[in-house]
């Protein structure tokens, strides 16, 4: 599936909830199931500090595709991370660099991806793209 297809799927999934509690319960559940970052990468180097919560992010390239793992100290932040990772995982650096994250707005979680929340997520999206760029550059150089 393309990133866009995955994002539409997530939108559809969230479309079932008209109650905020159900939506957040789902998000919290996703947070609990997040593919966790290997403890060896849970270091200062991988930390993205928000004022409210912090995020750890790691990426690896396998057969030209990116695989992310992450963690956060806040579970709702983890839920949003899991959506971002699900939409970007197993994609090529080029696809990730072109992708948008507007689907987060459309499922009503826009506030969580706003710089004023200071939860580390805005920087995390930047960092995800940065990994894509770095792997792309690496590939071109070899």
């Amino acid at each position: 599936m393309t990133i866009q297809e995955i994002q539409s799927e997530i939108e559809e999934e969230f479309g079932f909830f008209d109650d905020w509690m159900d939506k957040y319960e789902h998000l919290i559940g996703l947070g609990k199931d997040l593919p966790l970052i290997d403890p060896q990468f849970k270091t200062e180097e991988h930390i993205i500090k928000g004022c409210q919560s912090q995020v750890w992010l790691h990426a690896e390239l396998e057969d030209g595709k990116l695989f992310y793992t992450a963690d956060s100290d806040a579970i709702i932040t983890k839920g949003v991370i899991s959506l971002l990772i699900r939409s970007f995982n197993a994609q090529t650096p080029d696809a990730i660099l072109e992708a948008s994250t507007d689907f987060i707005d459309r499922i009503g979680l826009k506030d969580h991806l706003s710089p004023t929340r200071a939860n580390g997520l805005v920087s995390m999206v930047k960092q995800m793209k940065f990994y894509a760029l770095a792997f792309k550059a690496q590939k071109q150089n070899t």
Partner: protein, 403 residues
């Protein structure tokens, strides 16, 4: 007071706001209080009928604006019971007031001198002193605190090297009311000056700077139901006359030549540039509003709210209060076992309940307790017992989703 809450709430249109489809429960008053209509109207009235630059024109409008501005200064004097309105400086806010003093001290301090602050300070009362110490070579000492969030005050922290002690009257993160009367007396015994950061005291009870014998006292307009962008630095006359000016510009000078400028007398020496007239006038109205309600009434009602919230929240399994001082004002900081404060804050917001989460600009306090932050509910005069009930239900609901 309880009988009057409905009519008090009527004066705050914003309290009728819906947030996420629910009626707003505003419990972030320590960050900033909402504004009664009469404050907003006073500002509009000033701009519509009396605005001009102050202290400059001979024309009638300038005189009128000047008069209103100086009346505001007199109102602040009366509110703090300062000896003279010359001792009241208008600033941008509490942070600006502290910086005014700290930057002056930066030039007075020498290597070997000490500045004493406390573990309970807001970053606004830490960083300016760190900067002053860094640049002057003085050293910064810290009054320690205990696990209840109370200062462990001892006069032995002072010495002849101590030049100034800067502590808050009430802690914004934990609500602790500090023993400033004792601190001031002990500091004066070694001839150290004392600055009290009153940002979290002035919203809740009356302050008498002469009884306290504080040398400097600071607060923000926006936390006492007044506008943003205005604050107050009170300083004893002798201290303000001794302190070098903060910024240079118009209004603060007596004479200017290219070789030498002589400064205007206080308070103008510290008010460079066109001041925030509208802010001062709004603050005047806010102080009148608080006096009309009665500071004793506000203090005793908010204490009831605090006690009730404390009792009710205590029933929640896994709740942990951060800051359990004997003497507290209007602030409740807590954590729910197993839940990150950010998550609790996000879910409460979904229920229309506004609380603050995070470190509250007091990272050293969070480090002491080894926590990332807290959930903080802080009360104002317009909050109700029902709102406390909503908070309690909200926290229980969040806990059931998160833990």
């Amino acid at each position: 007071m309880e009988r009057h809450i409905a009519s008090i709430r009527e004066q705050f249109p914003i309290l009728k706001t819906q947030v996420n489809g629910k009626p707003l429960v505003y419990l972030d008053n320590a960050a900033s209080t909402q504004k009664p209509t009469r404050v907003v109207n006073a500002i509009a009235q000033y701009y519509n009928t009396s605005h001009s630059n102050v202290h400059r024109g001979v024309h009638s409008l300038s005189q009128k604006a000047t008069q209103l501005f100086e009346e505001a200064r007199e109102a602040v004097r009366a509110h703090l019971n300062a000896a003279s309105s010359d001792e009241i400086i208008f600033t941008k806010g509490c942070t600006d007031a502290i910086n005014t003093v700290a930057s002056g001290y930066e030039r007075l301090l020498k290597k070997g001198d000490e500045v004493l602050i406390s573990h309970l300070e807001h970053h606004s009362n830490i960083v300016p002193w760190q900067m002053a110490c860094e640049r002057s070579g003085a050293s910064l000492k810290i009054i320690p605190m205990n696990h209840k969030g109370e200062l462990e005050w001892s006069a032995s922290l002072l010495s002849s090297r101590t030049k100034i002690v800067a502590v808050n009257h009430v802690s914004n993160a934990l609500g602790t009311i500090n023993p400033i009367q004792q601190i001031i007396a002990d500091a004066h015994a070694v001839s150290a000056a004392v600055l009290i950061d009153g940002a979290q005291a002035t919203p809740h009870f009356s302050v008498d700077v002469q009884t306290l014998d504080a040398d400097f006292y600071t607060f923000s307009g926006h936390k006492v139901y007044g506008p943003t962008g205005i604050g107050v630095l009170y300083g004893k006359r002798s201290f303000l006359e001794m302190l070098p000016p903060y910024q240079g510009g118009g209004d603060m000078i007596k004479t200017v030549t290219f070789s030498k400028t002589t400064y205007a007398p206080i308070p103008f020496k510290f008010e460079a540039g066109t001041p925030n007239m509208a802010g001062a006038i709004g603050l005047h109205e806010a102080l009148n509003f608080m006096s009309d309600i009665g500071l004793e009434n506000i203090a005793s009602y908010e204490n009831q709210l605090l006690q009730y919230a404390n009792e009710e929240l205590s029933r929640i399994p896994g709740i942990r209060f951060i800051g359990t001082a004997e003497n507290k004002a209007s602030v409740l900081s807590f954590l729910v076992e197993g839940a990150h404060p950010y998550d609790v804050g996000v879910l409460l917001d979904q229920m229309g309940i506004a609380v603050r989460t995070g470190h509250h600009c007091t990272q050293p306090i969070m480090d002491y307790f080894e926590i990332p932050g807290t959930v903080r509910a802080s009360f104002g005069m317009y909050n109700t017992m029902e709102e406390v009930d909503q908070l309690v239900r909200g926290v229980m609901r969040s806990a059931s989703m998160l833990v």
